[in-house]
Each structure stands twice: as C-alpha cells, then as structure tokens.
Symmetry: C2
Subunit: 256 residues, 2 copies
DNA sequence: CGGCGAATTGACGGACGTCAACTGCTGTGG
DNA sequence: CCACAGCAGTTGACGTCCGTCAATTCGCCG
C-alpha cells in the first residue's frame, strides 16, 4: 500500500519521534510500509516473533493476553499509538496478541532499523527510553488498580478518568463496547452491568454507550482517585511533547 | 559511608552497565554514595520525588503500592538489582514505595548523571532501554498472571518457577516470609495457607519455609506454566549479559 | 519464663463468575 | 416490507472463590 507523506508526518509528530534528527527519522522510516486491516483482523499472536514496530494511524486495536482458554484485554489503543516497542527493542517474542477492533491503518517500521537508529542517535535513543519508562509506569498503575481495588471501584475510577479525558464534561460516550470495557477492567460483562447498576446510587446514569455523571463529588468519594494510580491527563492531542507523557493502558501506547 | 572498589565492580558487572565505556561509567558513578539501612527502613514513599537511582548491593528490598488503607507488594528485590529506573529516566515521582526487608547496602546514583550519560553514550542509552524493556515485559507477565489465574494457580506456578530458579531440585526454601509471598501473589496470608493445603493433594509438601515438590508432573498439570507468563530463567548469577535479560517481579530489577 | 508475631484453621459473609432467560437492536434474506 | 437470526446487554439464581474475624499453636527473642 502506498504511504502518504501525511502519514509520515503524523508519525513524526509523536513525541519520541519529534526529537529525532531528520536523518535518523529517514533511516527509521526508510523500509516502513503502510497496511490496512479490516475489523477483527489478528495482527500478532502471543509468542510470535516481532520484526516490526507497529504504529496505529487510524482505527482501534486491542492488546490481549490469554491462558488456559481464558483471555483478557490488556489495553485498547487509539491513533496515533505505537505498540510492541519493548519486544522490538529486545528483538523478542510478543507477550500479547494484537487484534483490530475497527478497520485500521497501521504503519510497520523495521525493528532492525529502529534498534540501529537508537544506537546511532543518542537523543532519539533517550526519547525511546522515556517512552518505555512511561509505558512501564502505565503498567505499574494498572497492577495497583487491579490488586488494590474492587470491580465497582475500578469502574468508578475509569469513568472519572474518561470524564477528565473529555475535558470534564458530565456526559460522554464510552470509547468501546461494554464487553471490551469489562475485560479491560478485569471482570465479566454481567458483572460490569451490575457495577453500573450499583453506581446509579452514586449519580451515574447510563444510556447505551452514553454515560452521565450527575453527582461527581459523590462518585469521587466512592472512587477515591489518586494520581499514583489514575492518569487523568486529557488526551486532546497526541502531540504533547511533555517529558512525562505517561499514559494509561486504555487509549494509549504500549511497549509490548 | 565509604564506597569500596569491590562495590563499584559489582555495579559494573550489571549487564546494562557492563557495556558502558570506561568514561561513561566514571561519569555515572562519580557522585554516587553507598548507604546502609536497617531492616524495615523506608527508602521511598509513593509520590516522592526521585533524585537517585537505587542499586541494591546487599540485603532484601520490597516495592509496594497502596490505596485506601490497603497495600500490596509489587516486587521483592535481591542483590544485585536496581530500582525506580523508570522514574529516574522521566525525572518523575515514584509510583511505588520501597522498604528494606533485611539490613541492606544500597548504592545511590545521581539521576541527573544517569540521564546525562544516557544521552552522551548511545550504547549505554540503548542498554538502559533494553533494561527498561525487560522490566516492562516483567510487568506484562505479572498482569496476565493476576488477571488470568486464580490464587491456587498463581501459587503453583510460583513454586514451579522457584524450583527452576534453584536448578530444578525438588526441595528448596522460600526466599521470604509467607505473608510477603501472599501479598506478592495478591492474596491474604490466610488464603495462602489454604492454597498450600490445596496443593498438598498435588504433591506439595510444606515444612515451615521448606517446600518440596514430590510430584512435579502432577503439579505442572495443574499449574500449566507457559513462557508467555512465567519466566523460568535460573538466576544463578546476575552477570548473564544475554540481550534478553527479562526477569520476574520477584527477585528482580524493577524500573520504578 | 513471658510475650510478640507468624502461621494455621474454622466459621462466616461478600464479591465475583457461571448459567440461563429475556430484551432490544441490527442486518439479512425471503 | 417484514420475519428472523444473531449478538450485545441486562437481570436473576446459584455456586465458588476469597477476604474478614476470631481462636489457637508455634517459634523466637527479650
């Protein structure tokens, strides 16, 4: 598939690509190609050898892990995000599967070229290390979320985070199907329904994918959000070149 | 506290320090100092600003997270390990607390100097990125372990991993108190006891801190270990300079 | 010898998964 | 255009897993 200049520019705008020199950027993207996948396409299976860094330019992708006939969604990515960066840096097998949720445009960058450029351009290498650090911290948050909170608490905090990401408005629409959300939060769809029902006592009104938080203070008293677990940064644009560009597993980058 | 040359050599032997040039190594360790802490000392609290990279040279350290009067142990580190690397790279707050379990010798390296050296020595910077990648993948494994397996299964796999780490012998001794293990595995001490009791049907014999796996095949049929979650690498020495030096949260390095 | 904390065991309750039935929406084909 | 199949979501009943509380034992250290 032909690669448009506009696509390359969107990659260039990623914080950790924007610091790369022009020649580094050319080297990294030299052998890259763009591919379009339909909804439900499997991009990668757990255990697969990873030869490319994936950059989601359009669409929606989920990362999942499985064991013993069970599986769980570890992250849902929206554009522009990269994934399986860690596996590429180590030239190792993937620990997660990747699957498109919607039709998606994905740029595939040679892992070999990435590793070479990291060692050639120290500023670029450092930027990648920062990206990896942010991803690591996202997972630390995820584990604390999982081990320390119950299902209702995880949902309550998820909703507060979503509200923040939408600029603080009281009504917003869920970014994906409820069954996806359930798996992401580590529960069954049935239990997610019941958790929503529980939260109706705290001013949470659900109408299909529309959620409105009628009494934010009451909900927060239940959820007890904290910056040490929840990342409330608005994701208005992916261009934020703040040094600490930490993100949550949801709608974020993921090292892989 | 005076720093011995032998301590510096142990740091130098860490895989991601061993690739650094002599001058880079001198720069990074220039302002470093060694500190001895008693058992139970708090090294770092969640939310603290992190100014130093910590290198555990002797002793035992636990990393924990807390929320709403509950806390959980995220990792137990043994020498030689570094921790809070990710926070140092981003110059950010710590997401985990750190506490000594035993009396510990800890080398503290200037975060400022580390970041400077990463950008000055691209090979060193790449090695740090590899270290971060390994830590990231350790957390991916931990989340899959937590979300996909039940308590008994987590314990069974933990025991198999320990057996592997001890070279495959059928009897070994647990590396820390059972209450620490319980928290690490995401359960209460009471439930850990019951999980051990359950595993007695599968040939697991417990005698204080001594565990013997009498029927490995039976236990494995229950545990269903997989390289996509469990890291069975023996940790005979920290010197293994394999590119993929992934480690598990237990007895490992942790980015922070 | 006495006390403290770790570990174990039992009883109980709450949180969560499973199974099943039912609703409502959507897309398909007669 | 409507009938119907299929799937997401919800709700209820039930069982299991796990956390909590309490009592007891054991070993260690003062």
């Amino acid at each position: 598939m032909p690669m448009r200049d506009s696509d390359l520019e969107r990659v260039r705008a990623l914080p950790w690509f924007s610091v790369a020199s022009e020649s580094t950027f050319r080297d990294v993207t030299a052998g890259a190609f763009l591919q379009r996948f339909p909804a439900g396409a499997t991009l990668l299976l757990e255990g697969d050898r990873v030869d490319f860094l994936y950059v989601l330019l359009d669409g929606l992708v989920q990362l999942e892990g499985s064991w013993n006939d069970k599986d769980t969604i570890l992250a849902v990515l929206r554009p522009v995000s990269t994934f399986i960066l860690a596996a590429v840096v180590l030239d190792a097998d993937a620990l997660m599967s990747a699957q498109t949720i919607e039709r998606s445009d994905i740029l595939m960058i040679s892992g070999e070229a990435l590793r070479r450029s990291m060692q050639a351009d120290p500023v670029f290498g450092f930027a990648v290390a920062q990206e990896l650090s942010g991803c690591y911290r996202g997972l630390v948050r995820a584990i604390k979320n999982q081990k320390l909170r119950g299902g209702v608490e995880r949902l309550a905090n998820y909703l507060i985070t979503q509200k923040m990401r939408h600029g603080g408005v009281e009504t917003f629409t869920l970014p994906h199907e409820k069954r996806v959300l359930a798996s992401l939060l580590g529960m069954t769809p049935e239990n997610l329904s019941r958790a929503f029902a529980t939260l109706s006592d705290y001013g949470v009104i659900v109408n299909g994918p529309e959620v409105t938080i009628a009494r934010p203070v009451v909900l927060e008293r239940l959820a007890k959000p904290t910056p040490l677990i929840d990342n409330h940064q608005p994701i208005t644009s992916e261009l934020t070149s703040k040094a600490e560009r930490e993100r949550w597993p949801v709608a974020s980058a993921a090292s892989g």
